[in-house]
Amino acid sequence: MDIKIIGLGGIGSVLSEKIGRFLNFSTRENNHIMLIDGDSYEVKNFERQEFFQLGSKAEVKRSELSLKFDRIQFSHYNKYVNESNIKELILEKDIIFVCVDNHKTRKLISDFCSKLNDIILISGGNELTDGNVQIYIRKEGKDLTPKITDYHPEIQDPKDKSPEDMSCEELSKSQPQLFFTNFTVAAIMCWVFFKIINGVIPTESDVYFDINTMAVSAKTRKVKAA
């Protein structure tokens, strides 16, 4: 099983550990997890991101998880995903977890995956106290669930920037986030992963939650015609 986790911030730093732990103690063999992020862990990230030392997020996480889970083959890529490198990073039959903090990168990954024949894309995102997880499954060249851009114009036509396009000043400014919310997104991504690896193709393509109302709701939407 080839898994790529893109983004190792509030969601990805938690998710990578949980997916690694699950696979390490399962009976499944030949599991490879690639950790992808161009950012670095800094002291300011301790509030809501899980890591054991400062430095390149991808490299630090690979070192940490390799020590914990010796049955998994970990690798890392310490650059952001962009149009130049995406074809080297995302391959047929991969399971892709998208844990990034901008819609521009989500769209880039979604558009690329929609041209492959077999891919599973699980994308999570959040605001302060709510969020959602989107599921895109493509088998034998056919979409089984809608693309993550299909019903979301904010992803189809993103107004934000990828980290590579941001200035240092823009990068240093970040909106407040809550660790519990990041953690909930990661947990729902794990639910989806668990269903899929047990052979269940979800009919749901979007799972929303709201901490304030303590509600979770999964949505089933039809695949749009190409």
Binding site: D101, G125, E127, Y151, E154, D206, T213, S217, R221
Partner: protein
């Protein structure tokens, strides 16, 4: 009682002001309550509570007035019975009273579950059953925008497929207003 506050007056006030009124009225349980729950408490204390049982005895004009106070848009073509059904959709059967306006999903969720004409409407993680058969998606979005926190630009999906805002809902439909995807991580 020195002052009687109307629904319209109180909707213009912030929560702190409403809490002060509740305090002046010697009410209890308002300190952690939400805005519209406090409004309910104040209205009830002023004797403005209306029970569903006596709605049928009122004139159509009075029922329309109650519906408007409850934040319901009433059409000229609506029958008295249809308006009562809409009012009951935001009622609390446990207390057997009508909320002036339910500010949250909890107040309306599943309350009209036995009504075969109700339709499940959702936005993000919030959802409820509402008697909106025969209404357009636009009208439902306007009616429920505060209850379900619906963005004015939200796309609408009926039974899994995108529809225009002019789509008229039928019995058995399920309506979703698409909430924006979380952007951060």
């Amino acid at each position: 009682m020195a002052n009687k506050y109307t629904m319209e007056q109180m909707e213009e006030m912030n929560t702190d002001s409403l809490k002060q009124i509740a305090k002046n009225l010697d009410l209890t349980g308002y300190s952690k309550a939400r805005k519209y729950d406090i409004i309910d408490m104040i209205l009830e204390s002023q004797g403005n509570t209306i029970t569903p049982d006596n709605l049928a005895d009122k004139t159509k004009k009075d029922v329309e007035k109650i519906a408007r106070t409850a934040g319901i848009k009433v059409s000229k073509t609506d029958t008295k019975e249809q308006i009562i059904n809409q009012v009951l959709a935001v009622s609390d059967p446990d207390k057997n009273k009508v909320h002036a306006f339910s500010g949250g999903v909890e107040g309306v969720r599943d309350m009209v579950g036995n009504n075969p004409t109700t339709i499940v409407v959702s936005c993000g993680a919030s959802s409820g059953k509402f008697p909106v058969t025969g209404k357009t998606v636009q009208a439902v979005g306007d009616f429920l925008k505060e209850i379900l926190n619906i963005d004015a630009a939200a796309n609408a999906i009926v039974n899994g497929e995108e529809v225009s805002k002019t789509y008229t809902l039928s019995e058995g439909d399920t309506l979703e207003f698409v909430k924006r995807a979380g952007s951060k991580g």
